[in-house]
């Protein structure tokens, strides 16, 4: 394996990890406020469609990403209302979003484009190279010749890590997920935090979906999300609910997924299913090795009743 192949593998790994990272961060913000949202796949699907449509009609991928994000927020408000205000079961409503949102997206696509043997194509976001830095051999193309979305998501990882560990507001936010009653007695508005978390979650998950259709591929087809929401869900647990951990988890998965695709090519003797298992098996192994002593937010998954004793 030569250097070009290695560099190509790493670039591909970053490309495949980016949508996962957006959505994993979305889940991180949701779970830190005690809301386990398994509806990520649904939010992504809707974001992917809205982003694609906006990009297709206006020709502006940035507007596409923004609209996709807002679409995600819109759908996630259903989840927020049901789980926060009505204190419903989070898993049930997450699942409902997973069934409802992709079907809605599929319906809208069919109303707009009909059924044809070709897919509509939109413009893709251009990469923005950082002058000077992009010419560094090997690392230049990997780190400094990507779409603005990639820079944004890595910046977001840093912001998330600083926010949750170094700011008062971030600690308050975390308290809502750990022990909401104590937080409430300290004057933190738990309900408002949970809604705020849902807005961020919907925004980032919608953005992750829109990334697929505005920065990655230039078409929308049903099922384009292909289970990425669930991988992101796993990445949050695997990344121990921290920004840097989630980053490592997504990169690890992206790397092994890129690797398995390359291993498949040029090998006829080994069944391809074995290669497809690699990313999942590696995730399992890593999870066992790093242990699971750090548990997630203590109040996650539990509905919050303000007046309950």
């Amino acid at each position: 394996m030569n250097w070009i192949a290695v560099s190509d593998l790493l670039i591909s790994a970053v490309r495949m990890a980016t949508p996962l990272l957006f959505v994993a961060l979305a889940e991180l913000y949701s779970e830190r406020a005690g809301l386990v949202n398994i509806g990520l796949d649904g939010l992504m699907s809707f974001g992917a469609l809205v982003g694609f449509l906006a990009c297709y009609w206006t020709g502006n991928p940035f507007l596409g990403v923004l609209c996709g994000a807002l679409g995600g927020v819109l759908v996630n408000m259903i989840y927020a209302f049901c789980t926060v205000t009505l204190a419903g079961q989070q898993i049930v409503y997450g699942m409902a979003i997973n069934i409802f949102a992709p079907a809605l997206a599929s319906f809208i696509y069919r109303v707009v484009f009909g059924v044809s043997s070709t897919l509509a194509q939109a413009t893709l976001m251009k990469t923005v190279a950082i002058p000077g830095l992009k010419d560094i051999p090997f690392l230049g193309k990997l780190l400094f010749d990507q779409t603005p979305m990639v820079y944004a998501v890595y910046l977001l990882v840093v912001v998330t890590a600083v926010y949750f560990n170094r700011t008062k507001s971030g600690l308050n936010y975390k308290a809502v997920g750990e022990y909401p009653k104590a937080a409430e007695t300290m004057g933190i508005n738990v309900i408002r935090h949970k809604y705020f978390a849902s807005v961020i979650c919907g925004f980032l998950a919608g953005m992750g979906g829109a990334y697929l259709t505005t920065c990655y591929v230039n078409t929308y087809s049903d099922g384009i999300v292909a289970g990425r929401g669930f991988i992101a869900l796993a990445a949050v647990i695997f990344g121990r609910w921290s920004g840097s951990g989630v980053l490592m988890a997504c990169l690890l998965f992206g790397f092994f997924d890129a690797l398995q695709l390359r291993l498949q090519i040029g090998t006829d003797l080994i069944p391809y299913q074995l290669f497809q298992m690699i990313p999942y098996v590696m995730t399992l192994i890593a999870l066992t090795l790093f242990g699971s002593r750090i548990a997630g937010p203590k109040a996650k998954g539990k509905p919050y009743y303000r007046e309950e004793r």
Binding site: S117, L119, I224, L261, Q273
Partner: protein, 328 residues
Amino acid sequence: MKKALALLLALCLALVALSACAKGPEAPGEKTYRVAMICDSSISDGGWGAACYNGMVAAAEKRGWETAYTDSIDQSAYADTMISYCDLGYDLIFAPGNQYSDAVKQVAADYPDVCFAVLNGATSLPTENIMSMLPNADQIGSIAGIIAGLMSKSNVIGFIGGMELDTTKSKLAHFESAAQVINPAIKAVSAYAGSFNDTAKGMELAASMINEGADVFFGDASAVDSGARQAIDQANGDTVRIIDIGQPADLLGQNPCVACSVVTDNAAMLAICLEKCETGTFGNEVVFGSLENNCVYLGKFNDALIDADTQAKILDYVKQLQEGTFSK
């Protein structure tokens, strides 16, 4: 109060349901036949689902049938969905894939008056009320292989599959062997996306095959193929060096890299089934789709990518394939 409201709602629902049933039977004498399709993928996937759905609509239009479909259903819902259509009085159920065979067998036994047509169904499948439609996967692969054999300059050709279906495997095998008949130095690289929807994966697979030197692509993976074509276009930039062979519809013009397509005419095969259903001669039969009966054919050439001389050679080889003189 709440109870009354619930009762009212239930009544409304019942009324809607009844009124939907009411418009069922038509005027006696002139029966309108109806065909329904089930599909596990989406019918707007720009690939297999879309090709099958459009095939059904075209065949139904030709024979004056009404159509209905249910798509994106799980394996657990195959049988239930078909039973619902049978109960609604549909005359023919169209199941576009070998994966529905078991469910079709089960339902067909319970509904002897309904016809079932299975695309890519096995030759052993047909019964009194089941027919298979079998496009010749060997020929499809061979036609693509002929084009690849004549067009590849790097001697590496790429194939992207969705899942490892029997038809996909034989397409791949004949794609490679036909290309090697023309140019023995050719090697095929292949990979499976493990999905028919993951467009992004198609893009990654094609990109890494291009790095391996592949310059002619063929596939069998619906929306995944769209991703592959996008990666090819991106690698090509302004001048097309790497080409794609489209399928199962004629995709000429969809992407700059599409040089030609291998077309499967599902509509023609399904029309045969519809006709047999009308005349009461349905069942115990396999409708083969091949070059011979024009259900498989070579699509239009992209003149900018394939010169006249090569086009003539391709046509000549395809003719040999049809006559059975194309050596393996």
